[in-house]
């Protein structure tokens, strides 16, 4: 009997409270984003598609040391070295298989030249599997860039690098 009485109380008095919660939300602003038209701003540390950075004089930072490939838990990076006319080591082939990649960011943490890092771009889906093997030309940031979208790497690590005067 007690159970039944409690059930009555619940249905008559307590459940309307729950309904009120739902009702209240009719007047609230929706939390959702109208995605393709409206986009989230990614937090500074977001790990998206990779980029290969250049120095200010547009030479490539990457020296093909292979540390990123060694750090990669998914074995997604492949590279072959070459030398420029000036005798500097450089990557001849540098490929990242973005299907294998798990976007862990270990390559970025490993790179001693701060050459590779994960940008904020996440919209690179395709229906062609081959197109996910990103080659060096796709990964390198374009030569002439006035805006620098890669602020976060400056903020996170390169500041120390520059103040120590070893910025080449």
């Amino acid at each position: 009997m007690n159970e039944v009485a409690r059930a009555f109380i619940n249905v008559l008095f307590k459940m309307p409270k729950g309904l009120y919660v739902t009702f209240k939300h009719i007047f609230k602003k929706p939390m959702t984003l109208d995605y393709p038209h409206e986009k989230r701003t990614m937090p500074p540390r977001y790990r998206g598609r990779h980029y290969l950075e250049r120095y200010d004089d547009s030479t490539e930072r990457c020296v093909c040391c292979g540390l990123c490939a060694a750090a990669c838990p998914a074995d997604a990076i492949y590279m072959e070295p070459t030398e420029t006319e000036k005798g500097e080591r450089q990557a001849k082939v540098y490929e990242i298989n973005l299907i294998r990649c798990i976007f862990c960011g270990f390559c970025e943490e490993a790179c001693p030249e701060e050459a590779i890092f994960l940008g904020h771009e996440y919209e690179f889906s395709s229906d062609d599997r081959d197109s996910f093997i990103y080659v060096k030309e796709q990964l390198l940031v374009p030569q002439t860039r006035t805006d620098n979208p890669f602020k976060r790497i400056f903020r996170r690590t390169r500041r120390a690098h520059l103040t120590a005067g070893s910025g080449k």
Binding site: A7, L67, F103, R156
Partner: protein, 391 residues
């Protein structure tokens, strides 16, 4: 002619929306009553333990994120603590506190998803929308810390991946107030909701004795009133400094476990508050040359650090011969990492004690003799994540 009792066998899953992934339950039914239930697992087997054995210790870390993807930080923490135990690394005080805070946020995250999906299974759709809204706050913190919402890999061997973000404590404080307030709404919606009560009270009951015999842990065990919480029983990562209560149930039914998980969330918020208030200053990584990666600033400026950096990344570190077991209280129960080392730079064997898998084993006990519709409730109340069950 005498009526003949006939049973029929049906498959629930692996594509059933209420089995939380790809669980298949073979049910033998007599009318609407379950005579026999047999969970069939393995549809999501990814060989994570084996994969971890083929990787250097620090490279095996992202695998742990992918086991229980609703509680990535708990898994990271368990694995890192196990390796730290093996190597005898003592992490700085700040790291401990930050880890506790993150692990508790993970508990909130996991319980929120559980609450939403469990209520959804039982027909309360709006719950899911509300809990996922609050979960977004936790995921935002993860994203600000580690760079990704679910596979954060933020807790590393010997410390954290990066310094905590600048606005970490304001964000956590905000989360605490918001979630605390919104939890009142959840209570309004479910606690006294007669439909929810009818579907959960005295459903999926397990006795304390059975719970122990099935070696259940987490809310499944505490729901029967047994006070066992790894955070209290074998404190790790500085949990002994925190003041919190272990939530306990009485009857061991689904409704009890619902109340218990809500209470646990409140306790988690309390722990987060304490962690934020008392967070000491200090480095975010232990200084153990040759084992823990040196800070990036040093790598770029100091030769010695650069050499260690190269060495750790290419070769990992040598571990002492032996085996360790480290258990932590994940949102689902006791998650343990057993690492046996043969002295090389890769684990010889990693074995995970998966709470969800072991808790799932009691499903037949929970549902046999009850109605078909209670199976849904039972699966929900165990709180399984198939990524972890199958590994």
């Amino acid at each position: 002619m005498a009526t003949e009792s006939k049973t029929i066998t049906i498959n629930m899953g692996p594509q059933h929306p209420a089995t939380h992934g790809v669980l298949r339950v073979v049910l033998e039914l007599e009318g609407e009553t379950v005579v026999k239930a047999r969970p069939v697992v393995g549809y999501l087997h990814t060989g994570i333990e084996r994969t971890m054995e083929s990787k250097l210790y620090h490279k095996a870390l992202p695998c742990t994120d992918r086991m229980d993807y609703l509680a990535p930080m708990s898994n990271n923490l368990g694995y890192c603590l196990a390796v730290e135990k093996l190597m005898g690394i003592e992490v700085p005080e700040k790291v401990k506190w930050a880890r506790v805070c993150l692990a508790e946020l993970t508990r909130i995250n996991s319980h929120l998803v559980w609450l939403g999906t469990h209520a959804l299974d039982l027909g309360a759709m709006s719950m899911l929308l509300y809990t996922f809204r609050e979960r977004e706050l936790v995921l935002d913190i993860y994203e600000a810390c580690g760079g990704q919402r679910m596979m954060s890999s933020y807790i590393r061997i010997g410390g954290l991946a990066h310094e905590l973000p600048d606005d970490f404590d304001t964000r956590v404080r905000e989360l605490i107030t918001t979630v605390r307030e919104r939890m009142l709404d959840y209570e309004d919606l479910l606690t006294n909701n007669q439909i929810f009560i009818n579907r959960t009270k005295d459903v999926a009951v397990i006795s304390a004795e059975d719970a122990i015999n099935f070696s259940l842990t987490g809310p499944m065990l505490r729901g029967c009133g047994i006070n066992y919480d790894v955070r209290k029983a074998q404190p790790y990562s500085g949990y002994e400094n925190f003041d919190f209560e272990v939530a306990l149930g009485k009857k061991g039914d689904a409704y009890d476990r619902y109340l218990l998980r809500l209470k646990e969330m409140r306790e988690s918020l309390k722990i987060c508050q304490q962690a934020i208030d008392g967070m000491p200053e200090g480095p975010f990584r232990a200084h153990v040359p040759g084992v823990v990666l040196p800070p990036k600033e040093d790598v770029l400026t100091k030769m010695e650090s650069l050499i260690f950096h190269f060495k750790i990344i290419t070769d990992g570190f040598k571990t002492p011969f032996g085996a360790v077991y480290q258990a932590i209280e994940s949102p689902k129960g006791e998650i343990g990492f057993y690492i046996s080392s043969d002295g090389s730079n890769k684990p010889h064997r990693v074995r995970v004690r998966p709470p969800a898998f072991i808790n799932l084993a009691c499903l037949p006990k929970l549902v046999e003799g009850s109605l078909l519709s209670d199976v849904i409730c039972a699966i929900g109340t165990i709180d399984i994540v198939l990524g972890e069950v199958d590994r």
